[in-house]
Structure formats: structure tokens, C-alpha cells
């Protein structure tokens, strides 16, 4: 049975006269990877900051495990903020232990787990060096470690792959999968739709502070997008408004939306018989989240 780890109901937020979130409701169930999506300025970070009691809502309720979040619940939550940073002039291990102890671990346990994490990500030799002496990628690994070293049951990752190099992006994906396998709930705040398709069970998409889409990835696709024909070709793509419309066209690639009542076979036959066109690939598919996202923001 699904249990809402995060429950947000009728949440509204205003900064002075500006209303940035309007009547937002959604929940995140235990053990799922949930995507909170939206363009820059859609209200994603404000929602997370309010969920974690860094901001007070103008109205509505936001709860974690049935209660308003307080620092006393820090042991259960791992938060990777969008604006991230650590103590640049302190040794890596000291910083990780300091933050892990704040998240409820004993000093000994914090030290043990921090060392194990640094070993796992290949920077154990940097444990006693200042963070500022590490490369950007190594600093990102430390930041991730500080988020998960206390093994939280809810991970809230705000734009986690932003500015990550491919190695660290892959590491993050592995970590998310590992934590999920252990039963953790992951809330992923992002505008990278390919990651959402790979990782998320359900999503909510914010637009201008209100909920534009909500559900499983399949539900959202069904709810929003019509199936399209993806065509790879050479030559001249003919126009036939009775059969299809061209929604996207590149020199050797096009996407077609077929007209109501027209069968796919009929379109395929028409294209195959077109004298100036050579079809190299023909695929009938549903729209990607990226396409839905783009069309929403058009």
C-alpha cells in the first residue's frame, strides 16, 4: 500500500504581491522516484524550501511523513540543494563528519561511513585535504556524499545533475538506484527530461506556479501527447494534408502527426510510393517528456 512520504495540499506562496505558487497539491509515495519538473522560475525550489520549512507557506499544508518538517527529522532526509557548497577551507573528512553528525550519526559512525564513501568514489586519499584543493568533479563527489552518508529514507535532490561531469552523473544515477533498492524515496527536482524518463515513476510538472501535469510518466504521456510518426529519410518529403501534418522537420528527419481516421498503413504506403523520397526509418511512437515539456512552454 502506498504511503505518502511527502504530502502537499493546496500550497500557495506569495512574495509580497507576487504569487509564485498557486494551489499546488501532490504527494510522493514511499519507495518511488518522483520528479518535480518545471522550467526555471516555475516554483520548484520554492516548493522544496517550503517543504523543508526553510520558508513558511502563505497557505496550504506541506508534510514529510505526516508532519511539518523540522530539523529534528534531519536523520531521515538527505537534501542536496540547488545552491550547493561546503566549507572550502576545511578538510574533506572533517566537513563530511560534521554534517553527518548533524544528521544524527555518532561521531565514530560518521567517520566510518564518510571514509567508506570516499573510498568507494575513489578519493580516500583526499580525506585530509582542503575541499578547495580538490578538482571540481571531486568536490561534487564530496557534496553527494554529504547528502547520503547518513542513509536517509527520503532524498530530495534539487537539480542534482546540474554542472555534473559525466562520471559524476553516472555515479549519481547509481546512487539513486541503490538508495531506491534499499527502500528510500527519491524526490528529484529537475528540468532534464531524459533523466526523468530514465528514473521517475511519477511526476508533477509546474508551470508558472501551478500544476500543469501530474501522474505516472505513462499517464502524463497519455494525458497530453498524441502518438507521432518519426521518419528518417533522404530526398523530398511530400506534403499530404489529408493524411498527416508535419510537426517537426530537419534535413533528414521529420515527425508527422496523422489526421483523424487515417490508418498508419495508409501513410506508410503513401510515403513508400513517393518517387522523390527514400525512407530509411519509420517509427510510430508516443511523444517524449521533453516534447511535452517544450510544447507546454511554447
Amino acid at each position: 500500500m502506498d504511503f505518502p512520504v511527502v504530502d502537499i495540499q493546496s500550497f500557495a506562496m506569495s512574495f509580497g504581491p507576487k504569487e509564485v505558487i498557486k494551489d499546488l497539491s501532490f504527494n510522493v509515495n514511499q519507495g518511488e522516484v518522483f520528479g518535480l519538473l518545471g522550467a526555471n522560475g516555475a516554483g520548484k525550489t520554492t516548493t522544496i524550501r517550503t517543504l523543508l520549512s526553510l520558508l513558511e507557506p502563505t497557505s496550504g499544508t506541506l508534510s514529510v511523513n505526516g508532519k511539518r518538517y523540522s530539523p529534528a527529522m534531519a536523520a531521515t532526509v538527505g537534501y542536496l540543494p540547488e545552491q550547493r557548497g561546503l566549507y572550502r577551507n576545511e578538510p574533506v573528512l572533517d566537513t563530511m563528519v560534521y554534517l553527518a553528525v548533524m544528521h544524527g550519526l555518532s561521531r565514530d559512525e560518521a567517520t566510518k561511513r564518510s571514509k567508506a564513501y570516499l573510498e568507494r568514489v575513489g578519493i580516500a586519499d583526499k580525506a585530509h585535504e582542503r575541499l578547495s584543493s580538490l578538482s571540481n568533479g571531486q568536490q561534487q563527489k564530496v557534496q553527494l556524499g554529504a547528502t547520503i552518508v547518513h542513509e536517509p529514507s527520503l532524498m530530495i535532490l534539487d537539480e542534482p545533475t546540474e554542472a555534473l561531469d559525466p562520471v559524476n552523473r553516472s555515479l549519481l544515477m547509481d546512487i539513486i538506484q541503490e538508495q531506491r533498492a534499499k527502500g528510500a524515496t527519491v524526490m528529484l527536482v529537475t528540468h532534464r527530461m531524459e533523466e526523468v524518463e530514465q528514473l521517475c515513476d511519477r511526476i508533477v510538472l509546474l508551470k508558472d506556479g501551478h500544476r500543469a501535469l501530474y501522474g505516472t510518466v505513462d499517464e502524463v504521456k497519455n494525458q497530453f501527447g498524441a502518438t507521432v510518426i518519426a521518419l528518417a529519410y533522404s530526398g523530398q518529403l511530400p506534403i499530404n494534408e489529408r493524411l498527416y501534418g508535419i510537426t517537426k522537420q530537419l534535413p533528414h528527419y521529420a515527425e508527422l502527426a496523422w489526421q483523424k481516421g487515417v490508418a498508419v498503413d495508409e501513410i506508410f504506403k503513401f510515403l513508400a510510393n513517393s518517387p522523390d523520397l527514400h525512407v530509411t526509418a519509420f517509427d510510430v511512437r508516443r511523444p517524449t517528456l521533453n516534447e511535452i515539456f517544450l510544447s507546454l512552454y511554447k
Binding site: A74, Q83, Y87, N89
Partner: protein, 407 residues
């Protein structure tokens, strides 16, 4: 809380700049002592002349129960004698004498008593030097006049203590040696303010610059964090005081003759007024909490350490403003400016510490000023918590006070 204190204290102690700032005053003081040592010979040469000047410029008389004072010296320096102690004191009070020195039976043990006209603000009256010098010259001139060589050697090796009572218009005025014990708290307060202000302001501005505030605020209450920082800063202040005082105490213990306290003063002769010391300690602690809270709060408002440190001067200067009115603070404690400084939160710590030291703060005023300081410290800590809670997440942006209050 312990985790915060541990982290904050040790990361400050690991910084070279902390130790440079702590050790610099010790080096300066030792350098001054060195210069003083070099000039001591010429000072000694001038001492006899000074004594004569004092005795000639103002009438001086002595009463010698020790039998050590050389009568030829008294005659040469035009110093008279008094038949008894009361007569000598009465002559000073009436203005007939500039000073009266009383030498008891064993001055090397019980000290010399000096009764003199007020000479203005000074830790030791210039007559103290004259009284000691007269005794030492007498002993040196005719060792046989001493009751034994060991007494003479003791007097020559180590200046006897002096108890000085001064009079102005016939009324006894406070001996400024009384100001030493409570005054130490004022001196330490200044040192901590000067040496530790940058550490205070950077303790929060660094969180903002490093963008660690969000992680911290989801892990711990802002109030706990700020209190942890304040306690850490007070511990660091104690470390700096220890770094400063331990070498000086050791220097005094092992090299007392090279480490000159004002003439006639010894550590054991410094008077301790328990009430004044208690108030000094309270003003020091509460004043420091208020100041740290204020500076830590400022640090959270500014986007980076450099921006914040520009405003640090404003925070520091309030502690030194009362120094500009030091004459009024000491001699006209009821002047309007002194009253304002005593109760205005940012000037109150310095003013109350100074007034308490010189004895110009009544117990009633002390309690009232303490109440103001406690209230100010609470407001200051509240401000720091709020500034960190709402200001530290505004990365790269200064948060105004209006915005802070509105949140």
C-alpha cells in the same frame, strides 16, 4: 550543539591568522617592556632629581617609625617631619603639605603609606616613586642605619609596596589602584573585540559565501546554530586571553624585576573589591554576548566576508566611542553624554566597564545598566538568529533590516 562548538573552535584554531592575531599583542607588550628596560637606567638617574623636584615644588613631610630614613637626605631635599601620623594626614588634607610619607617599622613587609594631594588620573601617584626612592637612598647611603643587612638588601632589591591615599579639596578620592582588578575586564573586552571581530563576522558570512546555510538549516535549528557559534567565539576569546596573559604572568613570576608594575604595586597589593569585580565580570560576559550576536547577525546579512567586513568597523567603533569621552566618563559620571553611553546598548559594555572600574557607577546604576545589557543581548541574539535564518540563504545578495523584520 557540541558538534557545532567542536567544529567551529577547532577550525578557527587551525587557522594561522588566529594565532598571528593572538600572539601579536604579546610581542608588542614584550617589545614595550624591552624598550622600558633599556630606558630604566636613565629613569633611575633621574629619580633623585625628581624626588627633589617634588619635595621642593610641594611641601613634603615624613614620619619614620622604621628608623631607616637618613636625616641628611631629608635636610638636603627640604623634607620635614611630622610628630605623628594624624598630624601628617591633617596637614595634607588642609593643603599645608603636598604629601606625607609614613614609614612603619618594617616597610619592606608592611609597605609605605603615602598621603598626598590628588595629581590627576594616574595609576600610581608620582609621590609613590619619591617615597620609595627616599627609603632606598637612605638605606643605600648608610647600610648600618638599617636594623640588619638582610632588610637593607631586601629594600634595595625589591621596591616595597606603597598604599596611597589622595585628597582633593580635603576629601579623600578614590585610589586608582582600585580600578586595576575590574579594569582588567575592560582591557580584555577591548582586546577580544579588536582581535576576534573578523572571526565573528566571518563565522556567518562564510556560511553564506560557501552556500552551506541551506544544508545547515535543514539539519539544525537556527537558534541552536547561532548559540553554538556564540559559545565557540567566547571560547576562542578565552584562548586569545590565555595566549596573551600566560606569557605575561610567567614573565612576571620569573623576571619580576624586569617586569615593572607601577611603583609600589605588587600583584598582592592590588585591591580587590568583590562587588566591582562581580559587576565587571557580568558586564564583560553579557556585553560580549551582545556584541558577538550583533556582529554574527551582520555577517549573515551580507553576501560575502569582504562586504561584511566593511561594516565591521561600524560595529567596532561603538566600543571605542566612550573612550573619546573618557574624562567625562571618569570625572563627570552624571553628565548627559555619560548617561546616554551607559544605557545605549552598543556603547554600554565599554562605558559600564570603565565606570565600574573607576568607581563612578553606583550599585543602582549598575543593576539598571546590567538589565539594559541583558535585554540588548537577548535582542542581539534574536537578530543574529533571524539574520541567519532569513539572510544566509539569500546568496550573493545583501538583506535589508526591513526585509528581515517583515519575514
Amino acid at each position: 550543539m557540541w558538534n557545532i562548538i567542536n567544529f567551529e573552535v577547532f577550525r578557527a584554531l587551525k587557522k594561522k591568522s588566529f594565532w598571528y592575531a593572538s600572539i601579536a599583542p604579546v610581542i608588542i607588550i614584550l617589545a614595550v617592556l624591552g624598550i622600558e628596560k633599556l630606558s630604566i637606567q636613565s629613569a633611575q638617574k633621574n629619580a633623585q632629581t625628581q624626588d627633589q623636584n617634588y619635595s621642593q615644588s610641594a611641601k613634603v613631610a615624613v614620619l619614620d617609625d622604621s628608623g631607616l630614613i637618613n636625616s641628611q637626605l631629608l635636610a638636603a631635599q627640604h623634607i620635614g617631619t611630622e610628630p605623628n601620623k594624624d598630624a601628617g594626614i591633617a596637614a595634607v588634607k588642609s593643603g599645608q603639605l603636598g604629601a606625607f610619607f609614613y614609614y612603619p617599622q618594617n616597610p619592606e613587609l608592611s609597605g609605605i603609606q603615602v598621603y598626598a594631594q590628588d595629581q590627576g588620573i594616574s595609576i600610581s601617584s608620582p609621590y609613590n616613586d619619591a617615597a620609595i626612592s627616599l627609603l632606598q637612598q637612605s638605606v643605600a647611603k648608610d647600610v648600618s642605619s638599617a636594623t640588619g643587612n638582610s632588610q637593607a638588601v631586601q629594600i634595595l632589591e625589591k621596591s616595597p609596596g606603597v598604599t596611597a591615599i589622595t585628597y582633593k579639596n580635603g576629601a579623600e578620592i578614590n585610589d586608582l589602584t582600585n580600578a586595576i582588578a575590574p579594569g582588567i575586564f575592560a582591557a580584555i573586552f577591548f582586546l577580544v573585540v579588536v582581535l576576534l571581530s573578523y572571526t565573528m563576522i566571518s563565522s556567518t558570512s562564510e556560511e553564506k559565501a560557501n552556500k552551506t546555510a541551506e544544508i545547515l538549516l535543514t539539519s539544525i535549528k537556527a537558534r541552536t546554530l547561532i548559540l553554538g557559534k556564540i559559545i565557540s567565539l567566547m571560547i576562542l576569546g578565552l584562548v586569545q586571553i590565555a595566549v596573551l596573559t600566560i606569557p605575561l604572568i610567567l614573565a612576571y613570576v620569573f623576571f619580576p624585576s624586569h617586569f615593572g608594575l607601577p611603583a609600589g604595586l605588587t600583584l598582592s597589593s592590588i585591591p580587590i573589591n568583590p562587588i566591582a569585580v562581580m559587576f565587571a565580570a557580568l558586564f564583560f560576559i553579557v556585553g560580549l554576548v551582545m556584541y558577538i550576536g550583533f556582529v554574527v547577525g551582520l555577517g549573515a546579512l551580507f553576501p560575502g566576508g569582504n562586504d561584511a567586513s566593511r561594516f565591521m568597523g561600524i560595529a567596532i567603533i561603538w566600543n571605542f566611542v566612550p573612550i573619546y569621552a573618557i574624562t567625562s566618563v571618569i570625572s563627570s559620571p552624571h553628565a548627559l553624554v555619560v548617561t546616554v553611553f551607559t544605557y545605549f546598548p552598543l556603547t554600554a559594555p565599554t562605558t559600564t566597564l570603565l565606570r565600574n572600574a573607576v568607581g563612578s557607577l553606583s550599585v543602582g546604576e549598575a543593576f539598571a545598566a546590567l538589565a539594559v545589557l541583558i535585554l540588548s543581548a537577548c535582542v542581539s541574539v534574536w537578530f543574529a538568529v533571524r539574520a541567519f535564518r532569513y539572510g544566509s540563504m539569500e546568496y550573493g545578495r545583501r538583506v535589508g533590516l526591513k526585509e528581515l523584520i517583515r519575514n
